[in-house]
Symmetry: C2
Subunit: 307 residues, 2 copies
């Protein structure tokens, strides 16, 4: 990949009104030089995830426009959903792709955070690689108490003072902006309607209770089905395969099974390759054995004349 690109995967607290989601996506697309790769909504979570890419400045401008649009269209006083959230635009991660560095994404997070705080009057917290304080590195820590809890404490608790913007929450809530590496959002549904089983499995696999490093997990009830909702923040250290095996074993132990799974947003090809290679117990597997990879290399090296 030669282009110096940034991926941005903002999460919005609206998964039920298509016209609102389309208006936010439209605001992103109104910035020139960005391409929306994917967006999906979940009715139970009442949340949408958009993935878009572009050059550094273009992505920053698009993210700002999306935050502005969401603040005009979503009222956190009325928002209900199973997924934790702080604001209309809940979280905005910038992800370096190709030749872009993490430092460039951190600077972008700061620049956009400052602008959102100042121009839109929304409290902004910086997280992950862009965090100004170690206790704000983890998204779930920044989000504790959710919108309602933050609203009740932000004005009086100096610990909750935002990194940018006013120490006061309006109906758009607060927005968490940061920089991180590629993340996989992956949910496993169980053949059970018992949310306690999903919560027990989540406890077994997640880093915060002694499970796999860089794995976050919550047990939820989605559409009447128990769901283990996961984020993988470093698939090099904690790939999907051993976590899936652990979920299967723990589900069996608790008298249930995996019904199906789903990917939210996009996944990087090597992450799925690794799942296939692990399942097949492939020895000595290398991406140089992938036909498409070898072909694209040959084409990049201009060994073929384009027609």
């Amino acid at each position: 990949m030669k282009q110096k690109l940034v991926e941005c995967v903002p999460n919005f607290s609206e998964g039920r009104r298509p016209e609102v989601i389309e208006a936010i996506v439209g605001a992103i697309q109104s910035a020139s030089g960005v391409v929306v790769l994917n967006y999906s909504s979940d009715v139970d979570h009442n949340r949408s995830v958009v993935t878009f890419v572009g050059a550094l400045d273009a992505v920053g401008e698009a993210a700002y426009r999306a935050i502005q649009a969401a603040s005009n269209l979503i009222n956190m006083e009325q928002h209900q959903g199973t997924h934790p959230r702080l604001g209309a635009t809940d979280v905005v991660p910038f992800v370096p792709l190709g030749g872009t560095t993490m430092e460039e994404c951190i600077k972008l997070a700061h620049d956009i955070g400052k602008r959102v705080g100042k121009e839109l009057g929304i409290p902004v917290y910086l997280y992950e690689e862009a965090a100004k304080r170690p206790d704000r590195k983890l998204l779930e820590q920044v989000r504790r108490g959710q919108y309602e809890g933050l609203k009740a404490t932000i004005e009086n608790d100096p610990e909750r003072a935002p990194d940018y913007g006013p120490a006061k929450v309006g109906i758009a809530g607060a927005t968490i902006i940061g920089a991180r590496n590629l993340l996989v959002a992956f949910n496993v549904y169980l053949t059970s309607d018992d949310v306690k089983i999903a919560q027990q499995i989540a406890r077994v696999i997640r880093a915060s209770s002694g499970g796999f490093p860089h794995v976050k997990a919550l047990g939820m009830l989605v559409n009447g089905q128990a769901q283990v909702s996961m984020n993988f923040t470093n698939t090099t250290v904690s790939p999907l395969f051993p976590v899936m095996e652990a979920i299967r074993r723990e589900a069996e132990r608790l008298g249930t099974a995996i019904h199906h799974s789903e990917l939210i947003g996009l996944i990087s090809n090597p992450v799925l390759m690794d799942v296939a290679a692990s399942y097949l117990q492939l020895e000595g597997f290398d991406k140089a054995q992938i036909l498409e990879y070898k072909l694209s290399q040959a084409i990049d090296q201009n060994k073929f004349i384009l027609e």
Copy 2:
């Protein structure tokens, strides 16, 4: 993929003398406009597989040069190996990629077969999509009796008359040339040295004894380890996942297990994607969820300016 390319995956009856393999690869590379993507050798099979691509004519010329080189360097009278074979260049499949049609690959197989028969005096059999007779469609049928059996019968048995070249076998043996779709060569090693177990598993999974359609399988002993050696000739109809599951179950029933597996040559990315999606029980998975795929689309559509 915009280029009109052909993949060629010739198999040579030499897997022990690196200088011979390098000379054959060199002969392929001496034809202009082809790129060797991959080659690998197996000492027990005493066999090498080369994968190269290029435009139609270039690939035909390179295949001819490889067959010529192998006929000068490999003596079938002295060849020993666990894999069935008819000749120094045993099999030469042409595979359509991108905009190339199967018909173009069939014509290429006929053209090269005719030239090999005439100029090199090697008997040529056309197989798979290029077969002139239905009983020569399957590689294993053309190869029955191997080099030694063919040598003993070709001159007197009209059933074994080649499609091109003389009805007489020299020390280079015979060559099987054809056109087919992408194939996966995949071997599973067992935690056992009992070749009978590998043969029993092969019988359970292969099409010819009532198993999975488009799956060929043989049980072998490789490096003292029982191995199920497979070819998948249509992974849309018979993908890898259910076959792997069947191997695991049959191995368990026979008191053994899968030790590891290996891919010979190249594999197409969607075939491994499918393994990952099946293992993860992903619902509604689509290649549009692959980041690299979406990015390459955006780049193809010139939505980003190249630096």
